[in-house]
């Protein structure tokens, strides 16, 4: 019955250990708006809880009754497949009641404001809202005006905290810990909420982060975050242990940021040929959806070095952990 150090400590009695439990058993926040608001301890607590849920979702019956008195609204003002499915599955595996709302099929089209929409949903006695919105800060705005737990499922080009948590959780699973790992995030950093949340999460856990991509797709403030920009993919790959390949967000490109998709693929696309040239065991990640042949070739995406599908599996466990921990703070 092998268990990890942290877990073993938690089992022990004694006064010092009780303190550890106290610090470690609760999140410091009642919303998950961004990684920026989380402490390293919060993230470790989410990871440890996700370990438990990962075991749960690999059982013959993958469901626990913890949240049977909790109702959660998933409000999506922007398209999503993976995130929405993953959240919904996580909620159902915790036995929560779930209602789904997509802006495209709703009264938002008739001119209703965000606050009115949400207040109407809340009057149906909802305990938690998971929201995706095209405007940065929308969940923060909501958290100040309604009395319910809010989980940010992506707000514009700002943050996507659960994606960053599942990415770093996958790195932790692969390497044992995140601290000291060298991670490069490749692609459209300017429009990517995944990149920003990942940078926050990796730095908080003590990893080294670089970003790589065309300069036109780099935001100005990167220097302030202590993140180095590398424009040569070869050099970046040479340095790193993990490469997180991002999609070019064509739907957010308001003008031309690079000459052509073909040229982008030639300079920043990860191919099997390039990987063989590197001659080392890189771990390849991608938050999805993949544009095969652009930022990543099929050969690489489907190779043994890719942990893309592990990320998706971990996404459910991590989201279960986040929802469980936030729900435990909802007053009865």
């Amino acid at each position: 019955m092998e268990r990890k150090g942290r877990k073993r400590r938690r089992l022990c009695g004694g006064i010092a250990d009780v303190d550890i439990v106290k610090v470690m058993s609760e999140l410091s926040t009642r919303h998950l708006l961004g990684i920026k608001d989380l402490t390293a301890q919060d993230i470790h607590l989410i990871f440890d809880t996700a370990d438990n849920f990962k075991e749960v979702i690999n059982r013959p019956i993958k469901k626990v009754p913890s949240l049977r008195d909790i109702t959660i609204a998933n409000i999506f003002f922007e398209n999503s497949t993976r995130t929405k499915l993953s959240f919904e599955l996580a909620q159902k595996r915790l036995s929560a009641d779930v209602i789904n709302f997509s802006a495209s099929q709703s009264s938002v089209k008739k001119g209703e404001t965000l606050l009115d929409t949400v207040n109407n949903i809340l009057s149906m006695k909802v305990d938690m809202v998971v929201m995706r919105h095209p405007n940065p800060g929308a969940p923060h705005f909501l958290s100040k005006h309604v009395d319910v737990s809010i989980v940010n499922a992506g707000d514009g080009a700002h943050e996507h905290p659960t994606q960053a948590l599942l990415d770093t959780y996958s790195i932790r699973e692969k390497f044992g810990k995140v601290e000291g790992r060298k991670v490069v995030i490749v692609g459209d950093i300017l429009h990517s909420r995944v990149a920003l949340s990942n940078i926050f999460a990796l730095q908080r856990l003590g990893a080294e982060v670089k970003v790589c991509g065309p300069l036109s797709l780099m935001p100005k403030h990167l220097g302030d975050l202590g993140v180095e920009v590398e424009t040569d993919l070869r050099k970046a790959l040479d340095w790193c242990e993990v490469a997180n390949m991002l999609r070019v967000q064509n739907e957010r490109l308001d003008r031309s940021y690079f000459p052509s998709t073909r040229e982008y693929a030639q300079q920043f696309g990860l191919t099997g040929e390039l990987l063989r040239e590197m001659d080392k065991e890189l771990v390849i990640m991608h938050p999805g959806p993949i544009n095969r042949g652009v930022e990543i070739s099929s050969e690489v995406a489907d190779s043994d070095q890719s942990i893309i599908l592990d990320q998706v599996e971990n996404g459910v466990a991590v989201r279960m952990a986040v929802i469980y921990l936030l729900a435990s703070k909802i007053k009865k």
């Binding site: 058993s25 915790l94 435990s328």
Partner: protein, 184 residues
Amino acid sequence: MRSMRPKLLLNAKEIDILLHRLACQLLENHLDFSESVLIGLQPRGIYLAQRLQQILVDEYKVENVPLGALDITFYRDDFRRGDKPLVANQTQIDFLVEDKRVVFIDDVLYTGRSIRAALTAIQSFGRPTTVELLTLIDRRFSRHLPIQPTYRGRQVDAINRERVEVKWKEKDGKDAVYVVESQT
């Protein structure tokens, strides 16, 4: 309220005798354990379960005694009701309990609510033929639910203000069972 000094209920020698008696009772009912599994309940039942497995294998030469650890945190009925959040422990059950004879093992049986949760939790691993309960200490007159142990080490009358603490050598330095007056 001042807390009293802990009262020693069982010493190491007495615990050792009880463990051997319990192991023999298990042996009597389950023989070679080919269709039986021991499930220690997290966090404190696993030490008792490991001890019993050890005695069965080392002293009574049972070849294979399957042992798992079950955490019931996500099945408890007091989620969001206590002051402190519930912290989960590891569940490790590397076998299906379908058509097996399951023995739940916990150190103290008090209200019975943990066992109720464990009965729900074990269903996630299949449908056992039977479920039995082994407990080192059975606190009488304190049950909230109609649950009784199949095998009990020692029955104790303790008032609600008191707590029964089971200490194990491998974790707490020595084997002992105390009755302590709780601080609250």
